[in-house]
């Protein structure tokens, strides 16, 4: 009980409350602008969180990401351009409702079921995480290795691309994580020192010295998500202007919909929680899968795509639930549930809240505070969301030629702020090019990010396990939990092959026909 009161005290501090409010507004605006994703909003926020208190820093990330996932629905609904990838699954449906003159209902569904989904996800986090922590206390390096590996495999399995390319992207991320001296042996790796004579040249010496500390995650993330987005804006045409439209009551009729689709809502929440809690798979995947499930089990599947609220209810409930559940593996094992928690883990370490099962006993009040922030953010989502929808016509009219220059400037100042080092800015630029090139060629950037974030953890546990077993691979499968995790990981690897083989065998007509454009 005292920890709960302590948690209230932590959250009620004025700096935390102000941070929640400001981060919410920031998240709503950035999420609503097409092309600026929730992950990018979070990545650009990290340099700022360095200078906040631990709870305020976490609160900033939680509230801005929850808001950004919702407000990504706004341009999707009004312009048919998803503001964040998590909205892409049901953008068509929402826009069809707008065309039928039900824009306010569509936006209301997104808002209402997002908030409810977020709260459901938080409750799941509250229940699952401490229970799993008990189990996780018994984990050795073998289990941690498999868990981290499973996270990487899940990320490749759910990527909306070729699994081979996703694995390749993940391996590149692991390779990036190899750079520097931060490895179990403390040997400098891939720092250009391998090439004798190259470090005589001042430029390469400068690069080599900076690579010694490894590639910093935050500049890499800012480059991959923000710089590459500005690059994309340079070569794509401007989005169409927003038609002026008067909106009616946003929340009118939402209660009836809640009563009409209780099963869909619950199923969306559960799907979101499961996908979110899986290491590596996040809100965007949850929305795609929920929309597909909803259509599959609906009594009126023919209405999908014509402005039918059912799919919207389910996937809207799903993506925000996934967001909260994504924190389960992040807090317990330090394994990101999605790209947003991949960033959040860095902040957790920075603020002394090192992820791990002991977090729930040693820093219980901080954990309760984290749950509270989630609840507050999701409740705050409703009034702020309504204001945002009302203002959307103005915000969405901000020209891209005004937003993108500010984003690039934030990239420069933000990456510099991480370590007051100009090399980080150059690093951001380099990763911008990498991200842009990968996106263009069908290599999922999210898999690369997970590789970078989890590289040192995978290697640490892999090498420590190998040293313990004297180079023998058998002990990796001997402990019961590690055997189960190993089986799941291998299943993830085999799954795409199985699907492919099944399709080869089964007749062609069973394949989904492509929707007519």
């Amino acid at each position: 009980m005292t920890t709960a009161i302590e948690a209230f005290r932590l959250v009620a501090a004025p700096d935390v409350l102000i941070t929640i409010l400001l981060a919410s507004i920031y998240g709503l605006v950035v999420g609503a602008l097409p092309g600026l994703t929730a992950t990018m909003a979070t990545a650009l926020l990290v340099p700022v969180t360095f200078y906040l208190s631990p709870i305020a820093a976490i609160a900033a990330i939680i509230s801005s990401s929850a808001m950004a996932i919702f407000s990504g629905d706004i341009p999707g609904c009004l312009l048919r351009i998803p503001g964040t990838p998590a909205s892409a699954a049901y953008t068509d449906e929402a826009y069809a409702m707008t065309r039928k003159g039900q824009a306010e209902t569509a936006l209301g569904i997104c808002l209402w079921f997002s908030a409810l989904g977020g709260i459901a996800g938080t409750l799941a986090l509250l229940v699952i995480a401490p229970a799993l922590a008990e189990v996780a206390l018994n984990f050795s390096t073998f289990e941690y290795f498999w868990l981290a590996f499973l996270g990487l495999m899940c990320a490749t399995l759910v990527a909306r691309s070729s699994p081979v390319k996703a694995i390749a992207a993940m391996l590149i991320g692991l390779l990036v994580a190899c750079i520097g001296i931060e490895n179990p042996a403390g040997t400098p790796r891939f720092t250009l020192r391998e090439f004798k004579g190259l470090t005589e040249i001042p430029f390469f010496r400068y690069v080599s010295e900076n690579l010694l500390g490894g590639v910093e995650v935050i500049p890499a993330l800012v480059g991959l998500f923000a710089v590459s987005e500005v690059m994309r804006a340079m070569v794509t045409p401007d989005p169409p202007p927003l038609p002026s439209r008067r909106l009616g009551g946003i929340l009118r009729g939402q209660w009836e919909l809640t009563k009409r689709y209780p099963k869909q809502q619950a199923r969306g929440n559960v799907t979101g929680i499961i996908i979110g809690a899986l290491p590596g798979a996040g809100a965007d995947m949850a929305a795609w899968i929920s929309y597909a499930i909803s259509k599959r089990f609906s009594k009126e599947p023919h209405k999908f795509g014509t402005g039918h609220p059912e799919g919207l209810v389910e996937s809207g409930a799903s993506n925000n639930a996934a967001l909260a559940a994504g924190w389960v593996p992040a807090l317990l094992f330090g394994i990101p549930g999605d790209t947003i928690t991949a960033i959040a883990i860095g902040v957790l370490y920075m603020k002394g809240l090192n992820p791990g099962p002991t977090l729930f006993t040693e820093r219980a009040s901080s954990m309760y505070a984290l749950y509270l922030v989630f609840i507050i953010a999701n409740i705050l989502l409703i009034p702020l969301g309504i204001i945002m929808i009302r203002l959307a016509t103005k915000v969405l009219r901000a020209p891209r030629s005004a937003i993108m220059p500010v984003v690039i400037l934030c990239c420069a100042a933000g990456t510099f702020a991480v370590g007051n080092n100009l090399f980080a800015v150059a690093c951001g630029a380099a990763f911008g090019i990498v991200g842009f090139a990968m996106e263009r060629n069908g290599y999922p950037v999210a898999a690369l990010v997970l590789g970078i974030v989890m590289g040192s953890m995978v290697e640490q546990n892999f090498v420590t396990s190998l040293i313990k077993s004297d180079g023998n691979l058998l002990p990796f499968f001997e402990r019961p939990v590690s055997a189960v995790l190993a089986a799941m990981t291998i299943a993830c690897l085999v799954w795409p092959i199985a699907i492919w083989a099944y399709r080869k065998v089964s007749p062609k007509r069973e394949r989904m026909p492509l929707p007519a454009q």
């Binding site: 993108m404 630029a429 190998l466």
Partner: protein, 165 residues
């Protein structure tokens, strides 16, 4: 910058081979079988394998499906896109170039002048009018400087034009 899988696949094979070779040359830890060389070699071998599979077109089916799915959910490409010249794609390199300009210039010119020229270039490239670009390139650097230097205490170099705060 869209490259065929026949180019990116062999590139990955090369990268993986380089990583495995570089890893194999790392000095071992005395008295231990497992050193810093194991992980890069495993990852490098994986990349070689993936690169070869990509070059051979394995897994292309999944990608086509996802693309068709996404295309069905997004706006049809506007016809105006096809009018651009061959150098249009190079515009994508402007943002990283601006960041490199920041790295090289900020210590000499100071934050404000560097930032203002970055914003001006970026907004003009994206087709802003002078009426928008000039006020933006004055206000945005000032606001960022205020937020980062004053509130977050990041030491941004003052250069020729120190801010009044």
């Amino acid at each position: 910058m869209h490259l065929s899988d026949r180019i990116t696949g062999p590139f990955l094979v090369g990268l993986g081979a380089l990583a495995a070779y570089g890893g194999s040359r790392l000095p071992p830890v005395p008295g231990q079988q497992i050193g810093p060389n194991v992980f890069p070699m495993v990852v490098g071998a994986g990349l070689v394998l993936c690169g070869a599979m990509i070059a051979l077109g394995v897994g292309r089916v999944f990608e086509e499906e996802a693309e068709a799915d996404l295309a069905a959910h997004e706006n049809p490409p506007s016809p105006a896109e096809t009018r651009h010249g061959p150098l249009f794609g190079l515009r994508a390199l402007i943002p990283p170039a601006l960041l490199l300009f920041y790295v090289l210039a900020v210590d000499r010119l100071g934050f404000f002048l560097t930032a203002a020229s970055i914003v001006l270039t970026a907004s003009k490239t994206l087709g802003a009018s002078w009426r928008l670009a000039i006020p933006l390139s004055i206000l945005a650097p000032a606001a960022i400087h205020l937020a980062f230097n004053k509130l977050l205490r990041v030491p941004l170099p003052p250069g020729f034009l120190p801010m009044p705060w």
